[in-house]
């Protein structure tokens, strides 16, 4: 990595994802943004990483960090790769923004031996309270958007996601609920976790 890069606080969800990966593995990060997560994985787990990103400015930043980046959207970015080319395909905080999440997850599990998916929990207790008492679509710190400007196309809970996986024969190897207080949420994650991180596999 560039030594000039200023030290930046590592995001908690990135730490959790890093803990799920085996060292030296081959990783594809879908919607890698500025490359924060990939850079961390390369530094701490010595992975061989590739990113897919749609934003041109983010590509420049990722490239600057020494990453291999392909300019594509998540919906079409996976078809180029051969089966099981990667050990892990990561979809962190991007699934809710893709057009065809089902296709993307199945494709991720085709090109990857495993997939790591991070989703925002739209049924966190705070959101439920807003719906129940205020009668409005929740706007929270994790979901700061109004209905008219949200980039999110899909609204799901951890329970919804579990059912989705079950119905498609996708094995949930691990589920880690995390709160916005940088803690894991082992108790009633569908109620108390702001984010769910999943390690998935499919035969």
């Amino acid at each position: 990595m560039d030594t000039a890069e200023p030290a930046k606080k590592v995001r908690f969800d990135h730490r959790v994802i890093a803990s799920l990966l085996k060292p030296e593995s081959r990783v594809l990060d879908l919607g890698c943004g500025d490359g924060d997560l990939l850079a961390l994985l390369i530094k701490e787990k010595n992975v061989k990483g590739t990113g897919i990103e749609i934003d041109e400015q983010a590509i420049y930043k990722s490239m600057e960090r020494g990453l291999t980046i392909s300019h594509a959207d998540i919906d079409s970015g996976l078809q180029d790769y051969s089966d099981k080319r990667f050990d892990y395909v990561i979809l962190n905080e991007s699934l809710q923004q893709v057009l065809n999440p089902e296709t993307v997850i199945l494709e991720a599990l085709r090109v990857g031996k495993a997939a790591i998916v991070g989703i925002p929990n739209f049924c966190h207790v705070g959101a439920r309270v807003q719906i129940f008492f205020q009668g409005q679509v929740p706007v929270t710190r994790e979901l700061p958007y109004e209905w008219y400007n949200t980039p999110n196309l899909r609204f799901l809970s951890l329970r919804d996601f579990r059912r989705f996986c079950r119905e498609r024969g996708i094995t949930i190897e691990k589920e880690i609920g995390i709160s916005n207080h940088e803690q894991t949420v082992p108790f009633l994650p569908n109620l108390f976790a702001h984010t769910g991180i999943y390690l998935l596999s499919k035969d």
């Binding site: 590509i59 490239m63 020494g66 180029d80």
Partner: protein, 386 residues
């Protein structure tokens, strides 16, 4: 920018050198089955070759360009064609790398081409010059690198036709190429690209002064060649860039003339560019090189993916949103084939309104990508880490 030698980001004053090879009976065997020799290659170099000759980068040029990619020829005010990209501290950093910029085989800018003297007849080759392909151009470059003692290129880079040469390097000489930078290019010439070239060729060949290519020492087919160049210029720009540059601005008059003299600035621009072009470029070279481009098809048997089986190079593929001559989707197809071979490939479609010319004008965004790409490979190769 001026040609003062104290400009810290210019390579300064440079000179074109010449190298001759393939002297009979060791002629170059061309893709067409014919042979050619002797062959002279004009080239320039910038930067310093390191002791183990591992820091060399080959720069490949376009249809009508030349070996003069960076710096200034003594007395010139205009720098080389990719000067914004090549120099001390620039994306192609002459403080780190050694650059070789050859003029292609078939050209008229110092390398052997149809305007060169055929040693057998003592006269210019004209149409007796054998057809050369992109593969042949690259084979001749290989001879130059052998001469310079360079076994492996740290990178090979080029835009447009230069990208095709870089691609051939990575495919035909996989052991010689560590990385490739392909800009505004593709892997096969499409029907539209061939059609546009054919109009240019017909313009040249229908000029009465062309004389079946035997015009040397007589009047050059200036009308035909300038028409070909005008068409070329239109294809290098975009709808938007032309309108921004010229709009409907009139030239030398207050209102429309209602005659066929030039009314619009764009008409005048094309005429000016074409008239300066015919003074510096040979019509037969235009015919030969445009045909070489049209013959180019890396997927000629319908299979692109398998062509990269032996390729090991790292790739950077750059395209531009408004380039309709080499549209970005063609770069994407190429990237797809590279990925299917598990190759390390980064790609970016730069947002630009400059059309195909963007690869010469969009220096800043291209520089970012090229700098970061080469920096990573440099760290990995010379310092053993990313």
């Amino acid at each position: 920018m001026n040609n003062s030698p104290i400009d810290p980001h210019s390579v300064g004053i440079v000179e074109t050198q010449h190298f001759t090879c393939c002297v009979p009976p060791d002629e170059l065997h061309l893709k067409s089955g014919l042979t050619l020799g002797p062959i002279t290659i004009a080239y320039e170099t910038y930067g310093t070759l390191n002791d183990d000759k591992s820091n060399a980068i080959l720069i490949c040029h376009t249809l009508t360009s030349d070996a003069h990619a960076a710096g200034y020829h003594a007395g010139d005010k205009k720098p080389g064609w990719w000067d914004g990209m090549i120099g001390p501290g620039k994306a192609f950093d002459t403080n780190k790398y050694f650059f070789i910029s050859p003029n292609v085989l078939g050209s008229c800018k110092g390398s052997t081409g149809p305007a060169s003297i055929n040693p057998v007849t003592g006269k210019p080759y004209g149409l007796s010059f054998p057809f050369v392909t992109i593969e042949d151009m690259v084979a001749a470059q290989r001879k130059l690198l052998d001469h310079l003692g360079i076994k492996k290129l740290f990178s090979v880079a080029g835009g447009s036709m230069g990208g095709l040469q870089a691609l051939i390097w990575a495919v035909h000489y996989p052991e010689c190429v560590h990385s490739a930078v392909l800009v505004a290019t593709n892997y096969r010439h499409t029907a539209q690209q061939i059609a546009l070239h054919e109009v240019g060729r017909q313009a040249i060949m229908s000029d009465p002064d062309w004389l079946n290519g035997e015009y040397y020492g007589k009047t050059i087919p200036a009308r035909g060649l300038s028409l070909a160049r005008m068409i070329g210029h239109i294809t290098y720009m975009s709808d938007k860039s032309m309108d921004e540059k010229f709009g409907r601005k009139l030239i030398g008059k207050e209102k429309l003339g209602y005659d066929f003299s030039h009314d619009f600035e764009v008409e005048n621009y094309l005429k000016y560019r074409a008239s300066s072009f015919v003074q510096r470029f040979d019509a037969n070279s235009y015919l030969y090189i445009s045909k070489a481009l049209d013959y180019f098809d890396l997927s000629e048997d319908g299979d692109l993916v398998s062509k990269f089986k032996k390729t090991q190079a790292h790739f950077l593929v750059i395209s531009f949103t408004s380039d309709w001559l080499y549209p970005a989707y063609q770069s994407k197809d190429l990237v797809r084939a590279l990925k299917a071979n598990d190759l390390d490939v980064s790609d970016c479609e730069i947002n630009s309104s400059y059309g195909h010319d963007a690869f010469l004008t969009e220096v800043e965004s291209q520089s970012k990508l090229v700098t970061h790409f080469l920096n990573r490979l440099h760290r990995e190769k010379f310092h053993g880490h990313r």
